[in-house]
Symmetry: C2
């Protein structure tokens, strides 16, 4: 990689190109193209009208550039409002050349030029990343990303004296603040770093300062130990998976696409969109695969469930990807669901092509996305079956840790049916921008509950979280893909393992998505195997979403008084509602949307307990959602949980209609478990018997496997085999 | 009323009209009209296609008329399926004259003619209303309502021998079963009674048996002590309010409209749609006013929240009302939201006129609907403000009991903002048709929780429910409207009282919906006054919907262990999450949808406690939703709770936008309380002061009132006065 990097550095330090303005996200050619075909694409017209309406309101109001005071209140929101209005006014000026837009930006920059030099650290700062205009530098970089664009748009209209004042009082001190005072953050490989280099890079291009741009591209040392290219090298896997997971992908993709767009407009010779085998294209597509069919991002790691591909960051990314990667019509269907296009030349093209009827459905598919810059740190597996309007989606997480927002959830799963969550990942505990909720920041329960293993649909051992819940330990490890095979749509299987989450404990999960003409929907077979030399307690939760219906477990319910399920590692946040020691197999069912769901589960010999829990204990500030879960608990050394998750029937309360309210699985059992594999038998109520044979360990090619059990031997070749009778 | 009734009886016993078939819900003229303009109205075309698709499937399957066995399982659903398919096949035969439809109905009736005479009481019967085909007669009457229509449609096609067999083996014994074996239910003034007389009436018309029809119209004694007209006299108030409330209105309106339609087609001289000053028209319109703008019925009394005006019963009622009451274009906009029309001649007209662009918005309004056959048993008051897409809706219930599904909730309120519930009525505990939930019937928690006073947003005294939770007592009383005044859209006020819910305790609630240019949304002022000669405990809950945010109450939270809030009358179903003894005024806020809500509340002198509760204690079968409430508790003799409920700001988690997260009310206090009235002062953070003066008792015209307090006297005339400063 070094030779390429050096070549790029050589190019970057050449004489500045004579790019005409606007020159960051917009090019003069974009402006020209819109002027020539203004009516193309209702979504672009709407974006332009919305911008115009918003800026007209701003023009009618007094300008306010308040002294920063709060972390989510008026001054915070006002500075956000200001940068958005400046950016939009800049675009409107570029497109219309109406001077009142330029005057508005100038008047505001005059205020900032007066205010900024007077500011020290923000009064609500917390930790090392204190900003000046905002409580954290992150917001301040976003301010600069927008304001640099506004400045670029009106640069040629401003007097030299104005330019000198704004650069001296705002852009120079602010870029110095980022590249010197916050050099650690600037060179950090993290979404904050991406925002910071993007801000500095855009300011650099706007001021035609290639030295600043070089720092943004290659780090303060200009040797690519930091900077934008290093972020592109390290933050994505070769498949484009963003290391922090889908939620932060959504956030980080914006500066990546924004800076890349500015680079392309100023230094096309860098071929930034082709960098690392077009890694930004892979990032956008893998990011979209990490949404459910309704657009919701899988809430892996710290994540807010409100976020979907309708987020403005993704709207922008889709437009630029469409422009730079050959105009894939599948992206148009995403734009259609977004119901919006970015206010860019690229957005104009998307809107016009969408209006031209070119959209085709986005190809949601079963995909295996590697994690790690080298692609060797596990990944995320996604199995999908059925048409888009009624698709069953199952995901398993076997990635690395995912930086500071990572969760201790190796081998956790989540499941969707069409637009509904069925088995959920809680996400993070945060009400973004809601000041009464801890200033809109991550709530303490994010660490004490949502990060912990027991908050996930995976096994917690001895009441502890993976890696002892220690980020520094967890970051050194990852889970491993055994294999991922979606070649047969009716029998898709993925398997992963983790030997590092607990000392002396090996965990392996194999998931099959099975379709059959005799079942109305695909079903999931889930085999979770734990091997250990010592005796442990194994807890496997299912956080169902919806209304709990019934179970065959004879349980004792704590109806008069209830207590927290444990004392730490997330257990303290669960109320124990009921417990039972069932006969195997257990089943429990719930209703979500218009469909029924039943889990039928068994452990191998040795029995298990079942605990019915509710999130919300030790929550004095009412920060957690009161949602339910069922926890299977087994003790022993080597144990296997085998479960079938079955969507079935339908229910319509308005039309008073119900069909197939009971699952069709008669029983599930572990029929054989040996060193070479595990065999699970599913008996159906209609007399069918399915025998699923799963090989242990990494992908085995076609090696023969043999397991004894059930008074016979099971023989198969390769990773797995399914016998349907 | 008697002379009219006698006149009707005279008309009814005249010689049968020579009506050609079909003659129940369809007339020969309807058929003719559809044949002449088949393409009119996509919604009708869709209804016809759906019917055709469903019946084609039925024709391709073997007929199954199983021996009844279950109360919500296969045989139950199959008999439902059968009657729907027969009815649809009848319509298709009438419209197309294709004999295969008639043959299908005949073949099924042959099976029923074989089965029905062999049946005794249903094996899953419960209580006195045991059916034969179904576990309760109610479903059986619905079966007959549908099957009589199918029979009528193919009557002329059948051989005399078939007709004789079906009448002898099905229709005669079944109508005898209803009019003789279940005479009590037949003559009962209740929705079961309406279904029963409708079933018998339709069978009577189908068999051209005017004696049977007369019983259906005037009761088994044919003197209008029972029967359809008596139901029309007693089950609706003069305003059209259905005594059981909106949910059962939805259910009952179907047999009312169905039978009325059949009467009109067979005995137009009865002028049934004009009966009692067109009571059925008033019923339809008042029923629609009892929905939120998104179509959801106010869940008063036993009610399932899934139900909206999209329910098939209301689709049918809207079509017939459109046909019989002059084609009100406002009904077309309801049909548009329903997205469906009834498969009737009337539905054809609705679809055609909708396609013709004639729809106008339904006029949701502030309305006061009286309860009781005489209109003198209180009622429901609904205040509305704002445009339909952002309407604030506040309802107070001051009705009579409402039969067996009534709740003990005098003066309870509920509130909606646009399509969202903000302060909820829990509705009923029932998962309709979900067999694993108690066979889909009302769950025990309907009686132990949802009916009880503490489950509602009204005052419970000494931990007891209104009228001791005894239906026989409650049925003898009702609350009283003091006044209802929506003449000024910016100052709408309603007031009601109840002196009978507790011995020696008088309760009065006055609600004002206040709009002001300085507030972004209307706010609600809620003054709940209790007078008593003895000391009591008064609990006033607010069952907010959404995410609890914050409160100024310093509370102790029960985070490690929590207990039920009480031992009976619904209190046993609440977990006590936290409690505090606040300084007045208290506030608490929550987030629902994209908006913030804050309640600011004070009691008069004497202080109060605040309890934060969660539904779900004593719920061993997981039947209840885990939703939250805040309960204000005061002790004393005469007490006043004054609260402002304030929608404010907006929040968008996807766009990361928040505005006005804090309410604008600085404080609320009871500034004066005397025998003549109560004065509440609201101070706003921007310095405004509003003084609301509420007269006590019934509407006072312009009488002068005086209350001392705050070191001054407050003087006003009439029911209320608001001073805005």
């Amino acid at each position: 990689m070094l030779p390429l990097a050096l070549a790029i550095i050589a190019a970057a330090t050449a004489a500045p190109a004579q790019t005409s303005r606007p020159s960051l996200l917009w090019s003069a050619a974009d402006v020209e193209s819109i002027r020539n075909s203004p009516g193309n694409g209702p979504l672009f017209t709407a974006a332009l009208q919305e911008a115009r309406a918003r800026v007209e309101q701003a023009l009618a109001r007094p300008i306010d550039v308040p002294v920063p005071r709060d972390a989510g209140g008026y001054t915070h929101e006002r500075h956000k409002q200001n940068y958005i209005e400046m950016q939009l006014a800049g675009i409107l000026y570029a497109v219309t050349k109406e001077e009142r837009y330029a005057r508005f930006i100038r008047a505001m920059l005059v205020q900032y030029a007066g205010l900024y030099p007077t500011l020290g650290d923000h009064p609500m700062k917390s930790g090392e990343s204190a900003g000046r205009l905002f409580w954290q530098t992150l917001n301040e970089t976003v301010w600069l990303v927008h304001t640099a664009q506004a400045y670029d748009c009106i640069h040629d209209w401003l007097t030299p004296a104005d330019r000198a004042s704004f650069e001296k009082n705002i852009f120079r001190p602010m870029t110095k603040f980022f590249t010197v005072d916050h050099v650690r953050e600037f060179d950090r490989i993290h979404n904050h770093g991406t925002w910071t280099v993007t801000a500095v890079g855009l300011a650099g291009y706007a001021m035609r300062d290639r030295e600043l741009v070089a720092k943004a591209l290659y780090g303060t040392k200009k040797n690519q130990t930091g900077g934008f290219l290093r972020q592109m090298d390290l933050l994505f896997s070769p498949d484009g998976y963003y290391t922090e997971g889908p939620y932060y992908f959504r956030y980080a993709i914006m500066p990546f696409m924004v800076f890349a767009q500015a680079i392309e407009n100023n230094q096309p010779e860098l071929k930034i969109f082709q960098y690392r085998d077009a890694i930004l294209k892979k990032a956008v597509y893998s990011g979209l695969q990490l949404t459910n069919v309704d657009g919701a991002f899988f809430p892996l790691n710290d994540a807010l469930k409100e976020k979907s591909f309708r987020s403005p960051e993704v709207v922008l990314a889709v437009a630029i990807a469409y422009q730079r990667y050959g105009g894939d019509p599948a992206l148009l269907s995403i734009a259609q669901k977004q119901g919006a296009v970015a206010l860019l030349g690229a957005g104009h093209t998307v809107a016009a092509d969408l209006a031209g009827g070119k959209a085709v459905p986005f190809p949601y598919a079963s995909v295996d996305l590697s994690d790690g810059a080298d692609g060797a740190q596990g990944g995320v597996g996604i199995l999908r079956a059925g048409p888009a309007h009624d698709m069953l989606t199952l995901a398993m997480k076997y990635t690395g840790h995912g930086l500071s927002h990572g969760h201790y959830d190796k081998l956790s799963i989540l499941m969707y049916d069409a637009g509904n969550e069925i088995l959920q990942d809680y996400g993070a505990a945060r009400f973004i921008n809601v000041e009464s909720k801890f200033g809109g920041r991550y709530l303490p329960e994010t660490k004490t509950w949502t990060m912990q293993t027991i908050a996930h649909n995976t096994v917690a051992v001895d009441g502890q979280s993976h890696y002892g819940g220690m980020q520094k330990v967890s970051e050194r490890f990852h889970a491993d893909r055994n294999y991922f095979d979606a070649s047969d749509p009716a029998l898709q299987v993925m398997s992963a393992s983790c030997s590092t989450a607990y000392s002396g404990v090996f965990m392996e999960r194999t998931l099959a998505l099975l379709s059959d003409p005799k079942n109305s929907k695909p079903v999931v077979l889930d085999i979770f195997r734990i091997d250990s030399d010592a005796e442990h307690q194994y807890d496997l939760p299912f956080y169902y979403v919806g209304q709990f219906l019934a179970t065959n477990v004879k349980y004792a319910a704590h109806v008069e008084q209830q207590s927290a399920f444990g004392t730490g590692n997330g257990y303290q946040h669960l109320w124990l509602e009921a417990s039972g020691i069932p006969r195997s197999p257990v089943n429990f069912s719930w209703l979500q949307g218009n469909r029924y769901y039943t889990v039928t589960a068994a452990a191998d010999s040795g029995g298990m307990a079942v605990d019915f829990v509710r999130i919300g204990a030790h929550d004095p500030d009412f920060n957690l959602r009161r949602e339910g879960g069922v926890i299977l608990r087994a003790r022993g050394r080597d144990r296997v949980f085998a479960s079938v998750i079955e969507p079935h029937g339908s229910w319509d309360g308005n039309a008073e209609f119900s069909r197939d309210a009971y699952g069709q699985v008669q029983s599930v059992r572990v029929a054989g478990a040996g060193p070479e594999g595990t065999v699970v038998v599913i008996d159906w109520k209609d007399g069918r018997r399915w025998t699923f044979m799963a090989a242990h360990g990494a992908a085995s090619g076609t090696a023969g496997r043999r397991v004894a059990g059930d008074g016979r031997t099971f023989d198969w070749k390769g990773n797995y085999s399914l016998e349907r009778k």
